[in-house]
Symmetry: C2
Subunit: 373 residues, 2 copies
């Protein structure tokens, strides 16, 4: 029996995981057409990124260019890309420095390698900001403790908790100064805004295409510079075409064909990023004006992922029959979904991809609910 999901058709979906991955009609046609497993392998000559029909070879070149890096490969997602870089560079016990706002998979990938993890602290309430200078301090601590700089540093370009955009170029320059390879996780930036890896002094960029490029999962991009390409994309001794770290081929699915369809749209949509941020800022302003609501993270926000501290709704929950679930159901009644059920003291949402009309409708819904209290 088929399973039916209508979230994107029937609701305004605010789930930050999902707003940048929403597929458009053209991508859906490709997805349906290439639905079967190994569909992109019809004319394979041995390696995914060299397939000419559909033009995945051209896609990977364009992705490298789009990210301003020298070489790119498809991966199965951002976490898989992070693991591949770590597995190439780190041995068990080696030090890695990561920002404390990082996604859990950054931590788990480093744990899987057996690396020693040092975290760059954020500035705490209310901005939770990662300052580039804190990388310098953490590097110095690693040197003091181990005698050497870390073997790798990772920065989450925009994190999934506060939507904070970090000055990656400053972090990259500090990495360069200390001779530390720099891995930039752009899961929440690439595909939304322009990301030019070499301008940010990045040695490695990982992308989540099903999070940021409007394609089905699971697929990502791993891009690097000439300096690292040979090592990261080292070949099997026995199978000289096959990338060892990628286990040969990665996104051997419709997702690879969909990314070909999606890329031209993505190249266009990143040009609208300033307008996307404007919508998010307008929404924050309106929400805070309701009183007893505070946007956490840097202000004004530079991203669509918004975290709100909402004593207003939390107090209301105490009066409601559905308790903490009331907000979820009140929004649902108004055709809005994507906030975690049960959360009222704080919640995250993303305004990405909404029109001005939708953002206004969204605020109107919150305002209406707030005024019931």
């Amino acid at each position: 029996m088929s399973l039916i999901r209508t979230r994107e058709e029937s609701f305004i979906n605010l789930n930050p995981l999902q707003t940048g991955g929403r597929t458009n009609a053209a991508v859906r046609v490709t997805a349906a057409s290439y639905v079967d497993g190994y569909s992109v392998c019809d004319y394979c000559k041995g390696v995914l990124h060299l397939i000419e029909k559909p033009p995945i070879c051209e896609l990977t070149k364009q992705l490298a260019e789009f990210l301003n890096m020298d070489e790119a490969r498809l991966t199965l997602g951002a976490r898989e890309g992070k693991f591949e870089v770590m597995h190439t560079i780190l041995s068990p016990g080696d030090a890695i420095v990561v920002d404390s706002n990082r996604h859990y998979t950054t931590y788990v990938a480093a744990e899987c390698i057996g690396a020693k993890i040092y975290e760059v602290p954020n500035t705490g309430y209310p901005a939770y900001e990662i300052l580039s200078s804190a990388y310098r301090q953490t590097f110095d601590e690693v040197i003091a403790q181990t005698g050497n700089p870390p073997k790798l540093a990772l920065l989450t370009h925009v994190d999934g908790e506060y939507g904070n955009l970090v000055d990656a170029r400053e972090v990259g320059q500090i990495c360069q100064e200390y001779g530390v390879p720099f891995l930039l996780n752009t899961a929440y930036t690439a595909g939304r805004m322009e990301v030019k890896g070499k301008d940010l002094v990045a040695d490695f960029i990982v992308v989540s295409a099903h999070k940021g490029f409007g394609v089905p999962g699971t697929i990502g991009v791993l891009a690097t510079t000439e300096k690292w390409a040979e090592r990261l994309f080292r070949k099997s001794v026995r199978y000289p075409k096959k990338d060892i770290e990628l286990l040969g081929c990665t996104a051997r699915s419709a997702a690879a064909a969909c990314l070909i369809t999606a890329l031209p749209y993505v190249k266009e949509r990143v040009k609208d990023w300033d307008e996307d941020v404007k919508k998010a800022r307008w929404f924050v302003e309106q929400m805070e004006a309701l009183g007893d609501i505070e946007q956490l993270g840097i202000k004004p926000t530079k991203h669509d992922l918004l975290r709100f501290k909402t004593p207003l709704f939390d107090k209301m929950a105490g009066q409601q029959r559905k308790r903490g679930y009331f907000l979820y159901y009140e929004l649902e009644k108004r055709g809005i979904t994507g906030i975690k059920p049960g959360q009222t003291a704080w919640f995250k949402l993303s305004t990405y991809g909404l029109t001005w009309e939708q953002v206004k409708y969204l605020f109107g819904a919150f305002e209406e609910i707030a005024k019931q209290g």
Copy 2:
């Protein structure tokens, strides 16, 4: 612009990579409905295999049961599952024994770990058989060279070169006798025929669902026994719900929802396996009767993946304007595809999923082409 692929609608597709992964109508509806990235995460409580809506928690239980193992997780494919087992068990320099008919990804995954690879030879032309007794000999060689049995043994249940089915239970018993953990790669068996892991004395089973369960990629299954579950599925110290080796969650895509839809069909289709083998055998018999064509691998075959040595077509190629490509184009004219363009001295094909009528039509096409010579 959308990309269009009509291989499954317009052709009889013989590509062995693709015949077991062909999606049915019900699966396609689920795929279209869950097309967006992270679509299965709508009601996530932190871990993919515990999601209740869609019922992935029930799916993983059913998969463990279907494979007669104690615990199962979704992976991103068979190669990823193999890597995860190897990465859990092996340190660089450790010995792994694998059959020489193994998929290239078995070799590359072991290379990625830095393991020392020992290969169990096959019997050579014409059967290229992997005898269980050869595992015993290879184990003895490893012991003679290193003083210890290998840390892991892998068997490809049916290989992708000859379609040879190996007696996995005998290999499993030898592994048990030597105290060697036993990893069984069922990419070409599970989903086609019944595979009961514990009956085969397997410690680990990897499945390729986009190869054998009729679902979109990329997705697989990794199953193990009580004895190994805690180690293989060890949890993050910081994130106690997250499987370290899986980097948290794997098939966070439509593929997971599709596997829920597909499993009941797969449970039914494995009951028809004897008939599938009968069709393959009939086809082999007819082809060999054309003369100057020989099926390689064990005989009579026990699988739908067939490798033919075809001097008949090779000689014809010499007379043709299109040379080695003539066979590909002659088949294409008759609505048949999936044989590698340019190959006439030998080729592989799979008869899986064809009706008797289609198998007869297929042979008729080859016969017609042969008689042109």
